[in-house]
């Protein structure tokens, strides 16, 4: 089915006669100015971050194949523009982020040390969760990154809870809660939508629609495939965004953030994206064609597009090559570190079960 890179321009009609109920206003604002006017340096930085995620994930795939990473491992390859575009618009001092199990990209986009992430994937004591969480369960409260949650959809009410905290403390923060097209069919998502809208919580719900819930294509699992419309029943404005262009993502994020920060309650963003790899490492990928994947990779890749744009702007190719080289070495360093650092001490088995001693 391969969603194309261009978002639908049509949106549902507003409830008749209810002028305050402006579900399309954010989409209209986004359509007016769809791309963020990044400076060369900003675009270079986005490119660098996306490339770091891509190379990191490729390396994780290799280490998995070598048996160094166990269990489930869900790669973010193809979706890089989403995390980078959205998180670049956040205020790291006060905003919070929460996501599901496909979490490596969001952490890297938040500037969390690739070594600590890779060492968690290989189950080492130096991992960000001391080797006790694994790929799906990573957190950095220092960066206000609240996981890393393995239960599909759980992060949505948890994210609404983080937003509740922002509002309760009046700290001006916004929570960005990511989930997938698959999680969008969980009941708790709508319980969270209802309360978030009822209490006007500062939360941006982000559906990363990569087309497939594990192996189930969106149209086989969802009666309403336009996920941005699913907030309508709760009066949550929706935005339909091309998730394969980092500058479109960033521009949309600014529109959403302005709305939420001004105290108007939640926004639901649907980001059309695509994952090149399987759902997890053990995905035979028989539910989609090779051609479909190749088409996305060759024609809609967010990293290739950013690179081409940088070159067109006159940024020297050598500069890009230098960045690529640095990222390779950073990723290799993370991989070496994750292979060579020791497993957790056995005594770690019993630590952190409870915080206090009773």
């Amino acid at each position: 089915m391969a969603r194309t890179a261009s978002p639908k321009k049509s949106a549902p009609k507003d409830a008749a006669g209810d002028e305050a109920f402006a579900l399309r206003s954010l989409q209209e604002a986004h359509a007016k100015s769809p791309r963020y006017p990044a400076s060369d340096d900003e675009l270079l930085h986005f490119y660098e971050q996306m490339l770091l995620i891509r190379r990191f994930e490729e390396k994780a795939g290799q280490l998995y194949g070598l048996g160094l990473i166990g269990g489930f491992c869900h790669l973010y390859i193809g979706q890089e523009a989403v995390a980078v575009g959205l998180q670049s618009a956040l205020d790291g001092e006060k905003d919070s982020v929460i996501t599901g199990y496909r979490d490596h990209g969001h952490m890297l986009a938040y500037g969390i040390d690739p070594k600590a992430i890779m060492a968690e994937l290989t189950g080492r004591g130096a991992g960000i969760s001391r080797g006790k969480g694994g790929s799906m369960h990573m957190f950095s409260t220092e960066h206000k990154f609240y996981g890393g949650h393995g239960i599909v959809g759980a992060q949505v009410p948890l994210g609404a809870g983080l937003a509740f905290g922002h509002k309760y403390r009046e700290d001006g923060g916004v929570c960005m809660a990511y989930f997938g097209d698959g999680a969008s069919n969980q009941g708790q998502v709508y319980e969270a939508f209802n309360m978030a809208a009822l209490w006007q919580l500062p939360v941006i719900f982000v559906v990363e629609n990569n087309g497939y819930a594990m192996g189930t294509a969106v149209k086989r699992g969802s009666a309403e495939t336009h996920f941005y419309r699913r907030g309508t029943a709760f009066r949550i404005p929706g935005m339909d965004v091309n998730g394969m262009d980092v500058l479109e993502v960033r521009a949309a994020a600014e529109v959403a953030l302005e709305h939420v920060r001004s105290g108007k309650g939640p926004v639901l963003m649907e980001l059309h994206t695509y994952r090149y790899r399987g759902h997890s490492m053990s995905d035979p990928a028989k539910y989609r064609s090779r051609e479909e994947v190749q088409e996305m990779r060759e024609k809609h890749d967010p990293i290739d597009a950013a690179r081409a744009e940088l070159l067109a702007r006159g940024v020297a190719e050598d500069r890009l090559k230098e960045i690529e080289k640095q990222i390779r070495s950073k990723v290799n360093e993370a991989a070496d570190f994750s292979e060579n650092s020791p497993e957790p001490e056995l005594s770690e088995l019993y630590t952190d079960v409870l915080v206090e001693c009773y």
Partner: protein, 451 residues
């Protein structure tokens, strides 16, 4: 520089597979994303993609080979040079070695001795209070003390609590801190857990714990496991509280004791008090705890009055059982509403010349094993009284502890007196027949005393 291509592990459990087909031949140039081979596992046929660029050098394992171990070098790629200069993975054992012998050596840390209840100073005024009032006062005091504490749940604010436990809180603390939720347990348990992760101290009321089954995923997967999974980085100091166990004539779906369910879960603290002083002191401790707490109350006990010490700050230690009646001949272990029945039974037994000790567990996780074993060592006979099903119960756990660690002190088998092993019926006579009562405890005590 040559890159070794190794037989990949394509699933968490794959150890070997069949190299079904090569889709490239020696001398082919490949780039990232090209399919190199098809590999069959017991579950599926998977495509093996190139992650590096280069030219296929030698193919070392021909197609059709079965039982190729993960990590075996199957081909070599010669690098073309250029942008993609990949790392060659060091030839290492494919799976990190784990020595089962060393894994067996590690022992859990010995629990520290638990503090006793703080002494109530002589001359402290004791007043009569219901459990309902004690719980409300505990919340109000903690809300005055810490602005991070708030209460949320169905009908907790304007209705003043479905069972009036939150009566008056809205008036004192306002709608920002006393929050009526829609009927949406899964959702608000998640919001409560998320708010706790973000630094607040939520007290989440379930109208009854029967409805918390809708929310049990957040109680266990989100609240209980996060501290461990994050290596101690992310806490979830939330209290989930509400009435638990059978009420009166409300039928099977509203009459279950969930204590054994939650007590099974590492990462949770589970408290089930009986009287007003314990309810107040332990709820205050629960709200102050850095850990997620499941606080199990009982509707039938809410209205009972007990002596409550009038102290500025009555906080009790979590994890500590209490001898509520001293005795020499036999120990009756119980918790929550069962304690009342155990005390009633002990009175009846005293008339028969049997001096029963009654031990109120109060906290079910972490369980005060020491108190159970000490009382057993004293009386050598034990009965566990539990308003709940017998199978895989708290009673089962107490019996296992006595078998494993108190065997030499046992003069008789430990017996359990629980509800009948059926969903709770509605009809008055059937309900009465299904539930634990004092005469059944008396009978079990006679048995273990061989009387």
């Amino acid at each position: 520089m040559a890159i070794e291509l190794k037989m990949p592990a394509l699933s968490p459990t794959m150890e070997e597979g069949t190299l079904a087909k090569w889709l490239v031949k020696e001398g082919d140039t490949v780039k990232s994303g090209d399919i190199l081979a098809e590999i069959e596992t017991d579950k599926a046929t998977m495509e093996f993609e190139a992650v590096d660029e280069g030219t296929i050098g030698a193919i070392l394992v021909p197609e059709g080979t079965e039982g190729v171990k993960v990590g075996t070098v199957i081909a070599v790629i010669g690098e073309d040079g250029g942008a993609a200069a990949p790392l060659v993975a060091e030839p290492k054992p494919a799976v990190p070695e784990v020595s089962p012998a060393s894994a067996a050596k590690v022992t859990p840390p010995t629990p520290k001795p638990r503090p006793e209840d703080p002494a109530v100073p002589a001359g402290t005024n004791m007043r009569s209070a219901t459990v309902r009032e004690a719980l409300r006062d505990a919340m109000a005091e903690e809300m005055r003390r810490d602005s991070r504490v708030f209460v949320m749940g169905e009908e907790v604010a304007e209705y003043q609590g479905a069972y009036k436990v939150t009566q008056g809180l809205l008036e004192e603390f306002g709608p920002k801190r006393v929050i009526d939720t829609p009927i949406t347990e899964y959702g608000f348990a998640g919001i409560g857990a998320g708010a706790a992760m973000g630094g607040l101290r939520p007290v989440v009321e379930f109208m009854t714990f029967n409805f918390a089954m809708q929310a049990i995923d957040h109680i266990i997967n989100s609240a209980a496991k996060t501290n461990y999974m994050s290596g101690g980085q992310m806490r979830c100091p939330v209290v989930f509280r509400g009435p638990n166990g059978a009420a009166s004539r409300v039928g099977a779906q509203h009459s279950q004791n969930y204590a054994p369910w939650y007590a099974n879960v590492p990462g949770l603290v589970v408290i089930a008090p009986y009287d007003a002083a314990d309810a107040k002191g332990l709820l205050k401790a629960a709200i102050r705890s850095e850990d997620p707490v499941v606080f199990l109350e009982n509707e039938l006990v809410y209205g009972r009055s007990f002596e409550l010490p009038e102290l500025d700050d009555h906080v009790l230690p979590i994890g500590k059982a209490r001898v509520v009646r001293e005795g020499r001949d036999v120990t009756i272990v119980s918790y929550s509403i069962g304690v009342g029945l155990a005390l009633e039974a002990a009175e009846a037994l005293a008339g028969e010349g049997i001096d029963a000790e009654v031990l109120d567990l109060r906290t079910l996780r972490p369980l005060d094993k020491q108190a159970v074993l000490e009382s057993l060592a004293k009386t050598n006979r034990m009965v566990v009284a539990e308003e709940g099903w017998p199978v895989c119960s708290i009673a089962s756990e107490i019996i296992a502890i006595c078998m494993e660690e108190g065997f030499d002190h046992l003069d008789a088998p430990v017996l359990r007196v629980c509800d009948e092993d059926v969903p709770l019926p509605y009809a008055a006579n059937l309900e009465k027949a299904a539930l634990i009562d004092a005469p059944r405890i008396v009978e079990a005590v006679r048995k273990v005393c061989y009387r």
